[in-house]
Point group: C2
Chain length 446, copies 2
């Protein structure tokens, strides 16, 4: 078997499961796994002592060096920060190499489609968890409904990266940072767009955490979902023209959104300006920057009055637990509201040794068949092993690793800039995911 | 007396009073007033039959032609859309001509200061109503407090462009479009920044219309003010280092802000995306795009429930009066939420024949002198003659016209990129404004 080279760029926190999988399969397939990062040490840590792995220094700003590394590989997997994918993509196009990412397709990436296709290349994006497994598991159900002659009326899909029941049982948010904390703080900014009962709907950021959808996952409790940015853009990709309701979103444990909404209403998640005199700022002082001084009361009392919160309610309890009313110094010298909030929250929300994260995905399909209306609900859950081998790293990394394997085996025929909604991709990826304990549980309702 | 040329570029709605004033003074000072606009007809209409005026075609994209027109003038007054001032400014710098505008100083304009000063030129900005008369009338009081040895503790200043009591008495908003409607719809976007009791305060857009300041103007009724974008940037300009409370804002009749807040909460003022299927959209359909369909109720009922409005209250009455729940077609084929809202509101808020607008400005100063705390409140009101000779056009245009006259007379010595906070500008401008019936009424409180 001809030796093949897989280049993984970016050795950050979501790369562990991906690289472990590829190294484990390397001997059988005669692969060498090259892990590149701007920190050679980080890359080296991921590769460990494996005979099939090699760490290299990879800095996207050093064009020649990057192009050489890409030219020497058969397929490139980029786990770099999303805004850098396009630069990897352009180098892959010059060197005529396949590219896989777990990130959303940008317009700029999409614009490469014709050129990618005419070079017989695959640039597979959105092949992680969300986006990724959500697309694949939903399309499998959607296609099965089509095959039996059903017409899809409603599709709702929510995914959340949470913590397991055993981690921090005292944490009233039931949440910690299991992926990029900055993205968590800024989640939902912009306008959510979706279809509801045949009408276009738009939710501005400041209403987003008030307009939630309740979700019950059998055996796993109560959740709530808020809409993701642009569900409409998937109408074409999913082949859902004519559908009445189409909503993709994010899942949180019940009660999270009402408390988070207080931070949104205050303006704490704004990243567009720098605050003043941050060096002397306390947690309570940070919150007070967004409250009126005319009422003479404590910060907590003013917050309660301002947002008509119950003084003994869950929202104020969550905010208090996060230390937001304490006189502790923030510990930064400058920052935007979003940066300061992230820094304060991270004091409690950073994963610590032994913490297990928990992924939950939920889909709802309503379809017409003959004269009757049917409903399917489906869910998928994954629990992390510990604070390094997280469910997040597994569910983001394994789809990419499996897709890379299938591509090198010649089993994926799709070409161009695509997402994994085609059967030749989702079917074998889902099959192998299920062998790794990551599988959708479907049930007919009514 | 040597003949002088004043070039006015932009012959839009706020130019009437300015040009009328200049033409009236032209004979006495041996001036010729050149009015330039991209519409020669608009320029011609402003000049009329005056022997001292001349209309020209002025298109900022035709560089050579613009430079020639500027070179042939002694001073340039720009009433063009604010983003174009910088191009006029650069041409003025090349041709070494003074420039006056009524618009906020941008960073780019500010960066020309050194060059403007070293060419012995004056680029006077923010010399209209707000910004303009607000700066001048406030600085006169602030300087008088300093002169008598007082230390300013609090400065609050609000200005509103409203309608007079006799116009549309049935209009529950007590408001119509008297300046750029687009700016009215998008007013307040961004984050308001100010000082309150020695602390920095930040109000995000979606809280802005909930955090109002009540204002009573003796003899003119009850108003409410919301904070303008960045009050902090005036601490230096006004020489107010060490002040405890500093807030600049916009005034509306009492009750306006709570109703406008509903539109903000819905997301109707967003200009960042295009809506879908606008050609078929009704007013009620527009509002419904921002409401959940899960409740089966009318758009009005859903709105009432969603924002906990009183069904017989003032907010819903204002929204209903604006036709927002009607089945009338919007009448546009495409548009952002902000563009569609502006178009709907304009059906009721466009000035009609005989309408009179009404300007109200209010300042509050608290200062320490010796051991005691003193307070001054001051207000200024102007009523328009009709829908053309508006109070807005007068109060924006006259300060510019008077400043141009003083500059040509050699009575303004300030140079560089400045705003009218210096005594050599504000004192004579305010004096002549008061001869035109535009004057601040001061009163000591306590």
């Amino acid at each position: 078997m001809k030796q093949k080279f897989i280049l993984v760029v970016g050795a950050g926190r979501s790369s562990s499961a991906l690289i472990t999988y590829l190294l484990a399969e390397a001997a059988r397939f005669n692969w060498t796994i090259i892990v590149g990062d701007i920190s050679l040490e980080a890359a080296q840590n991921r590769v460990g002592d494996s005979l099939h792995g090699k760490a290299i220094y990879f800095n996207i700003d050093e064009h020649e060096r990057c192009r050489k590394a890409i030219a020497a590989s058969d397929v490139v997997i980029s786990l770099m920060p999303p805004h850098l994918h396009i630069r990897v993509a352009k180098a892959c196009l010059i060197e005529k190499r396949h590219l896989l990412t777990a990130s959303y397709v940008t317009d700029e990436m999409k614009s490469l489609d014709h050129e990618v296709r005419s070079n017989d290349l695959l640039f597979l994006n959105e092949c992680g968890l969300d986006p990724g497994i959500d697309h694949m598991s939903a399309m499998q159900v959607i296609d099965s409904i089509k095959i039996k002659g059903g017409k899809l009326i409603t599709f709702e899909s929510f995914t959340g990266g949470l913590i397991s029941g055993k981690t921090d049982p005292e944490n009233p948010w039931r949440y910690k940072f299991t992926w990029n904390p900055r993205n968590v703080v800024m989640a939902g900014q912009g306008t959510a767009k979706f279809l509801q009962e045949g009408e276009y709907k738009f939710i501005p950021y400041h209403q987003l955490f008030l307009r939630t959808t309740p979700v019950t996952v059998p055996g796993f409790g109560e959740y709530e979902g808020y809409a993701n940015r642009d569900s409409l853009s998937y109408l074409d990709t999913y082949g859902l023209k004519g559908i009445k309701t189409m909503l993709r979103g994010t899942l949180r444990y019940k009660g999270f959104c009402k408390a988070w909404n207080v931070l949104v209403q205050l303006g704490c998640c704004d990243d567009t300006y720098q605050m003043e005199e941050v060096g002397n700022m306390t947690h309570a002082g940070f919150v007070n920057s967004f409250l009126d001084n005319r009422a003479s009361a404590s910060v907590e009392e003013k917050l309660i009055a301002n947002f008509s919160l119950s003084p003994l309610g869950e929202e104020i309890m969550r905010l208090r637990w996060s230390g937001l009313f304490s006189d502790e110094k923030v510990g930064l010298n400058s920052g935007s509201p979003a940066q300061i909030l992230e820094f304060i929250l991270n004091k409690k929300w950073k994963l610590k040794s032994g913490d297990k994260d928990f992924i939950v995905m939920w889909h709802r399909f309503v379809y017409e068949i003959g004269d009757s209306l049917k409903e399917i609900q489906a869910h998928l859950t994954v629990t992390g092993d510990d604070e390094v081998n997280t469910a997040m790293a597994k569910t983001v990394g394994l789809p990419l690793a499996i897709a890379a394997k299938l591509l090198l085996e010649g089993k994926i025929k799709s070409r161009g800039v695509v997402i994994p909604v085609n059967e030749d991709i989702y079917k074998p990826v889902l099959k192998e995911l299920s062998q790794n304990g990551i599988a959708l549980v479907e049930r007919e309702i009514n």
